[in-house]
């Protein structure tokens, strides 16, 4: 039976890797998730006949847990709106980290239950063999360091180390992801818990490491409980100060960490499928985190250890000039007579639920022979690629959507660039003004277009709190109003021609 179990795990691991590979191209992506899904179902089913699984109560508990949690997750995943996807990824990721930590918890409980008896049995055997007293035999065993009534003794040193590391990473990913979810979902607004938070974080981390080491040697459940609590606390303290703009990077980082925790616990319980899948996710997630941080020009250390606040206020000079308004109808007509239009959507468009109206407008423009493209900044939306998903939901085919590198050259030959609900990603200060907090971030060179239309709810600054010189430009016209209503008026204006 074990042979079939192991063979299925191998098959699942292959399906996961092939699935992730397929998911990295738009043409095959949908196949990819299905392959990975098949792998998961096979691995789960075959685990019911795993040789280590026994006992009626245990089987019953497994089935109840999977049925209840699976149904709840299915229901919540189906009903959530596309704009809320990032926090759902954070939530499910946190659950994975928590599961890895809980696995370590069970193994530690088991070690604490069995280790003292094992140790006594060994000591008794030695005492009988060498004809020495029990105390002497115990001392001899301890001196050899082969076994003692501790977690390390019960699990073996290598397993104990990886189980403890996995538990620490898993608990941090669990509570940190939950905080990320709460913040993105608007349930938590605060950005600090205590004064001198950096210092407190370091202290909590140091304590967690100390208790992790103590867990290795301990035979007391209290030490283990404190160790887990410190891990959870550290996750909360790390995630709370992270600003909204940096959240995607953190979620990606926690995702990679959970993968690592799963791999470590896979070693601890001798499960190669967990080792392979966890490591693949750990490596892929780390790379993805770096790609995101690079796209935002925010080194990962800055994301973790500093807020925007550090540089804020450096650039106090506002841009000169006046913003010039234009009505939505006039803007629509302007677009109808243009040859080349590039639309730059931002998260504001998704918040206003304007993507469907925009797509309707684009279809009308295309019927009139206007060449329309969508330009997407790597960090538009809440995560890299999030905006593509939102546009795809509205029905925009992916071959109309262009990445920053592919379209930045084209702006000079564009009649009208339409910025809707985006701000920092089109701010020329990031290119021109070294004193700006967002200086160095790659931007879409919208200001190179002949005309710029900016659809914006109000006159305020962007997500980062930085004023945008683009809005004051000679060739820029501002269309103020709710994105969906503005797009609706534009559609009417174009239809009326």
């Amino acid at each position: 039976m074990n042979f079939i179990v192991q063979l299925t795990y191998l098959l699942a691991a292959v399906l996961f890797i092939l699935g992730l590979k397929a998911m990295s191209s738009p043409k095959t992506a949908r196949k990819g998730i299905i392959w990975a899904g098949v792998g998961m179902v096979l691995a789960t089913l075959v685990t019911f006949v795993h040789p280590a699984v026994h006992g009626f109560t245990n089987y019953l508990l497994i089935i109840i847990a999977i049925a209840v949690a699976g149904a709840l997750a299915w229901w919540s995943g189906r009903r959530v709106a596309m704009t809320e996807m990032p926090q759902m990824v954070a939530l499910y990721n946190g659950m994975g980290g928590g599961a890895a930590a809980a696995i370590a918890g069970v193994e530690m409980l088991r070690a604490l239950r069995t280790a003292p008896a094992d140790f006594r049995a060994q000591a008794e055997a030695l005492a009988a063999d060498a004809n020495i007293s029990m105390a002497a035999a115990e001392a001899a065993l301890r001196a050899e360091g082969v076994a003692s009534a501790s977690i390390a003794g019960g699990l073996g040193a290598d397993v104990a180390i990886l189980a403890i590391l996995g538990a620490l990473i898993g608990t941090v990913a669990f509570s940190g992801s939950l905080v990320a979810w709460a913040k993105l979902d608007g349930r938590m607004k605060r950005n600090s818990l205590v004064p001198a938070q950096q210092l407190v974080n370091i202290v909590i981390f140091a304590l967690a490491v100390i208790f992790g080491i103590m867990t290795f040697f301990t035979d007391s459940i209290a030490v283990v409980v404190i160790f887990f609590a410190l891990g959870l606390l550290f996750g909360v303290f790390v995630a709370v100060p992270i600003g909204g703009a940096d959240m995607p990077v953190i979620i990606s980082l926690f995702n990679a960490l959970t993968g690592l925790a799963v791999a470590f616990e896979g070693y601890a319980i001798g499960n190669p499928a967990m080792i392979i899948a966890g490591t693949v996710v750990g490596a892929a997630g780390t790379l993805l985190t770096q790609l995101m941080a690079k796209a935002m020009n925010r080194p990962i250390t800055n994301v973790l250890f500093a807020g925007w606040g550090a540089t804020e206020g450096a650039s106090s000079e506002g841009p000169e000039g006046e913003m010039q308004d234009i009505s939505a109808e006039d803007a629509g007509i302007m677009m109808a007579y243009a040859e080349r239009v590039v639309i730059v959507p931002g998260y504001g468009m998704a918040v206003a639920q304007a993507q469907h109206k925009i797509w309707e407008l684009v279809e009308l423009l295309q019927d009139r022979g206007v060449d329309v493209k969508f330009a997407i900044h790597p960090v538009a939306g809440r995560m890299p690629g999030h905006m593509n998903v939102l546009l795809a939901e509205a029905g925009v085919p992916y071959d109309m959507i262009y990445d920053m590198e592919d379209i930045n050259e084209d702006f000079a030959a564009t009649d009208i660039a339409v910025v809707i609900g985006a701000n920092d990603v089109v701010n020329p200060a990031a290119r021109d003004d070294p004193s700006s907090p967002i200086y160095g971030m790659p931007i879409l060179n919208v200001d190179a277009a002949e005309n710029v239309l900016v659809i914006k709810r109000g006159r305020g600054a962007g997500f980062s709190g930085v004023e945008n010189a683009l809005f004051f430009g000679e060739n820029t016209r501002m269309v103020f109003g709710d994105g969906q209503k503005v797009a609706g008026s534009m559609v009417q204006a174009v239809k009326g021609l």
Binding site: I33, L61, G77, N255, V262, V280, A283, L287
Partner: protein, 101 residues
């Protein structure tokens, strides 16, 4: 089945290379679905959770093991549903026309 130390290190290393390779050529438009997809893949933790709950022999082990399976199943199922929903939308112009006909 115990995995010997060095064999485990080989597995770690090769799997890490596979992870880097798989991601390195991914277009930006798929970053979010891919993060979600990799989030689903570490849902494999559910098999580990099932094994530890399956060999639990005290009430405390059963309680913690139960929590492990609940969390892991949430990760796997939720991860699949949101990834599938995101990827469902990736259609090219041709596919959309086919769907409309």
């Amino acid at each position: 089945m115990a995995i010997e130390g060095f064999v485990a290190i080989y597995i770690f290393m090769l799997a890490a290379f596979a992870g880097f390779e798989v991601i390195s050529r991914v277009p930006v438009i798929l970053h979010t679905p891919l993060m979600s997809g990799s989030n689903f893949v570490h849902g494999i933790v559910v098999v580990g959770a099932m094994v530890v709950l399956g060999h639990a022999e005290s009430v405390a082990e059963q309680v913690v093991g139960f929590i492990a399976v609940v969390l892991a199943a949430g990760n796997a199922v939720g991860g699949y549903v949101v990834t599938e929903r995101m990827l469902e939308m990736f259609k090219s112009k041709d596919e959309q026309k086919k769907g409309a006909e």
